[in-house]
Amino acid sequence: MIRSILADMTPDPAADRVVPPTGHTAWLTQFTAGVMAFLAVFALALSMAAGRLADRWEDALARTATIRISAPEDQMQVQTEAVLALLSTTPGIAEARALSDDEQRALLAPWFGPDLPLDELPIPRLIELTEDGEGYDSEGLRQRLAAEAPGAILDDHDRWRRPLAIAAGRLQALGFGAVVLILAATGAVISLAAKASLASNDQVIRVLRQIGARDTYIARAFVRRFTLRALSGAAAGTLAGLVVLWLMPSGGDAAGFLTGLGFEGFGWLWAWTLPILSAAIAFAATRATAFAKLGTMR
């Protein structure tokens, strides 16, 4: 397999010459591959940036919320138990648990130091709850809390981000889908171009067949040509796309999504798979088209 691909791509000027040069159509194929790669770079960048965003927001959410109970000391235990009982019957809540004194102390330590006399201060009790599945109905829960434990306050301010995180995830998939579609379009365009080229070289192919050229010899002349065009065009398009991304102003963390539309780390390498993929697609498309054409003649 690999060997045959290498054989197909080994330069052979004599064999390449048997197919006449095509002038501007050659340039069009290259141009199209370039534009497609350019667009694919953005789709890929978008997908990756959205992916990073989704990850960050998902982490922040972690699907937990806190209930804070502030009550006179003699009612604290009662209310805590009432809240826990209530939570255990609330749909959409996987787990609820009161933090221990040690845990609360650890949470407060950064502000008040480690020697906080918890017993003597009116510190609210914290209950950590974890959602499951679709999550809970936060308005309903608030009302029930108000009825059963007047000192309990539900703090789930991170919840509003959930739709955003989901949207970011969808955007990531969308960007990836766009890359796939763009590559498929590249393949379709190259197929058409190859088909046109084979049709306009009908006589050349007939002569070659007649003097004893094998199908692979004839197909290679076309395959090499279109693969190299796709590769060079897509490489130029990718480079142009990367330069444009690189020139985008960097806004640091605060600027968020728009300025984050670049590649990070290995993302830059991923972009360079685009020309390789384009070339591979052109290779396969031209080869299939050439053999289909050759199959129609003796």
């Binding site: 067949r209 007649q210 004893g212 003796r298």
Partner: protein, 223 residues
Amino acid sequence: MIAFDNVAYSYGGGELLSEVSLSLAPGSFHFLTGPSGSGKSTLLKLCYAELLPTAGQITIFDRDARGLSRDDVARVRRRIGVVHQDCQFLDHLPVATNVTLPLAVTRRETSAQDLEDLLAWVGLSHLAGAMPPELSGGERQRAAVARAVIMSPDVLLADEPTGNLDWEMSVRLLTLLVELNRMGKTIVIATHDMNLIRMAKSQVATRVLRIKDRRVQLAGADL
């Protein structure tokens, strides 16, 4: 080399050739004649597996033409030089490159001297660098002969090779073909030119096949 056994061929309408049985022995020299449209070119195409018989069996180099894979067909054609009635070339490449094309497609080289000798042999030395569309009909035919023989094929099939040539050139070409035959090549020439056939008969033992009423018959001593 090539044998037909009760072969019939039709392009889709009625049968053009019927009950054709013949055998081209190694080193033989055949002429193929018949009225225009009788199927001479078609019969030659059957010989190099451009067409497959609609009935009967054709054996090419001891192999059934129908059983040849596409690569087999390519290999068979390297052993059969063909001069087409409408000689086709790669118009964007010079004559010399066209002539050496059969070697190029099998990744073989030809020595400059051999090429020069060959072009001189067909009288085209001065046109080695010309483009095929610039050639006259006769020059095209000679270039086609040169291309057909450069692989030193076992069989040479020529379809009206002298159609565009004056008598002097025709005789020269015939001499070339007779020479090839003396070197052991099997030759088949489709032609209307009775003078050419008589001329050949005076130089070499030939057989004349005539297509008449869809059948191929051996022509008598009248030629």
